[in-house]
Symmetry: C2
Subunit: 345 residues, 2 copies
């Protein structure tokens, strides 16, 4: 019998088909490596130099409106551009490239410079969810767009260059690498079983109740069996819907509640603003029906031992297989033990 808490082992990620390596005994190792600086935690409600605060002027000279809840605009330094023409390049099948068309947007979650998602109240988080849904609807109305990536980088350790609470949306003309993988796995499962992969997975996780953190009417939040990052989690809708477009009012409220509770639990682990990259994975758009696609949201937080010591996904992880030290079950227990009231009160 494989002892998950003691034996080094590999676990299969159902969504990518790829494995991760778990070394449960390894967390005993002492740490003498890099320790991160803690970001200062005394931001003003309004910062005259912030390009996201209401009324301020951005890099291109535009003035932000005096917005009251959330606010969205095209990124002044977009990685993808709408005016790109579609071109192919192929030299002996060895140098293969194609241009990529896209739109990159920035979405401010709140006019308040000093808040983060877990510190916002429920109506404010619900307003962000509404805006995500609206953006998804409007972007998918553009025929050339195939995929819409909604995400947030939280914390300077995750490359976030402005502490004002905000996320991003990158919409583009072809499917990203991770979406290709998840599409293939979900399609194969749906073909064989006539149900979505995540519907069956969630049912089994609820039955076992070893990795579930939040279970409400419309959503679960759990540490996936195959989590690679120490406190990696997923939010999964109980109803198999392909995208946020299908969310009802009730589901949007429940999703906002789930987001709030999960991120509060995160902050409480190390009594710090818990950094992460998080984002929804959703069905491709403008490419027919995708009954196999089941909406979900990934959270990839880097911290391992404390507010300042992260897991390094380096050498072996980059060249071979992602590796983790604590088990997903230990991480789930830690998250379950946390209060649902933010440590800052």
């Amino acid at each position: 019998m494989l002892d998950f808490a003691e034996q080094p082992h590999k676990r299969k990620n159902l969504l990518t088909g790829e494995y991760i390596l778990v070394s449960p005994h390894r967390s005993k190792r002492p740490w003498q490596g890099q320790v991160e600086d803690l970001a200062p935690d005394n931001r003003p409600q309004y910062d005259p130099k912030c390009y996201l605060c209401p009324g301020n002027t951005r890099a291109d000279g535009t003035q932000n409106p005096d917005y009251k809840d959330s606010f969205v605009f095209v990124n002044d330094f977009s990685a993808l551009l709408e005016e790109t023409s579609i071109e192919q390049f192929d030299e002996e099948h060895l140098l293969v490239a194609e241009s990529e068309r896209g739109i990159c947007k920035v979405i401010s979650f709140s006019p308040r410079h000093d808040l983060t998602l877990p510190q916002m109240d429920l109506p404010a988080i619900k307003a962000v969810v509404d805006l995500w849904q609206k953006e998804f609807r409007e972007l998918s109305a553009k025929e050339w767009i195939r995929y819409i990536q909604i995400f947030e980088n939280k914390g300077s350790i995750m490359g976030c260059s402005n502490p004002h609470p905000h996320g991003q949306i990158w919409a583009e003309s072809s499917l990203p690498v991770e979406i290709e993988k998840e599409s293939a796995q979900q399609k194969a499962y749906f073909k064989q079983h006539g149900r979505t992969l995540l519907k069956d997975y969630v049912a089994l996780e609820l039955k076992k109740d070893e990795r579930i953190i939040i279970d409400n009417e419309h959503f679960v939040a759990l540490v996936p069996f195959w989590a690679a990052w120490p406190y990696e989690t997923m939010i999964i809708s109980k109803r198999p819907v392909p995208s946020i477009l299908a969310f009802t009012e009730e589901e949007k409220e429940d999703f906002a509640r789930t987001l709030q509770e999960l991120t509060i639990r995160y902050d409480n682990i190390f009594k710090t603003s818990f950094p992460y990259s998080a984002g929804m994975h959703q069905s491709p758009v403008n490419s027919g029906d995708h009954p196999e696609w089941h909406w979900h949201m990934h959270f990839y937080p880097p911290l391992l031992r404390s507010a300042t010591i992260k897991k390094f996904m380096v050498g072996y992880e980059m060249l071979a297989t992602p590796q983790r030290d604590i088990t997903p079950e230990q991480a789930a227990n830690t998250l379950k033990e946390q209060s649902t009231i933010h440590y800052k009160g």
Copy 2:
């Protein structure tokens, strides 16, 4: 015609079959995000508290020998253990796992605590190459081992917890994720063409001469067409050999020379000890012949703008597709312009 220097585009990684995204115009973006601390650069030749220095006592009480060139031992905090029994786990094909057996070794490159690979002289680097070959031979003599990952994490920014120059070797009972991908791509190419993928790729890169940094009798070092990290490079043997086991004396000398020159060029870019994770990708062992496998070494360095500003592979990159700002051709030019004499003289 696709304009690589101006248009956002995707490039195909021949070894994994996956794409990366290039946003050439995006490097103009100002940076207000995290800046790394520079590691102090005044280490003593010998540090009594270092577990790698000659004569010192390690965590488990063992005393290091008074070694003169390089030195190898089993990691005191191994992620993989030799005594693991092989067990399978499968619940409804939804929770899938298996135990993994392995050996993790640490290899000190030099008795000198204050050096790094680019500061070592050629005979010392050649001694490391000899030891890598010897270790690969001895580990592959263990029948249960399928794959041997030789790598180095350099710099605290890459999770390296001891500045004493050293690398690692993880040998294990199954194939890592990245090796599965590279095996599949190389096998498909070899089947179709009867030549290794990298032989044809190197021939084309030499003809074009746009991304080649070093070209000597037995090796090339280049920025691959599909590089994801800003200054990512590969060293590729000109002769299609499956592993370091096949290297002749002459090839080992040339490899040591290539390593030295490439890492000196790296250090010279930002006049800093250039951090990276680097490692060889080689044929699986104890599993028949692998004529499709062509030995190569990847370098994944994180720095982008300066000695203290790295590229963050976060949000979009983790959830969708790895993304880069400067083009591989710009990176190759910067590397080519560097002196082959170390900036510290």
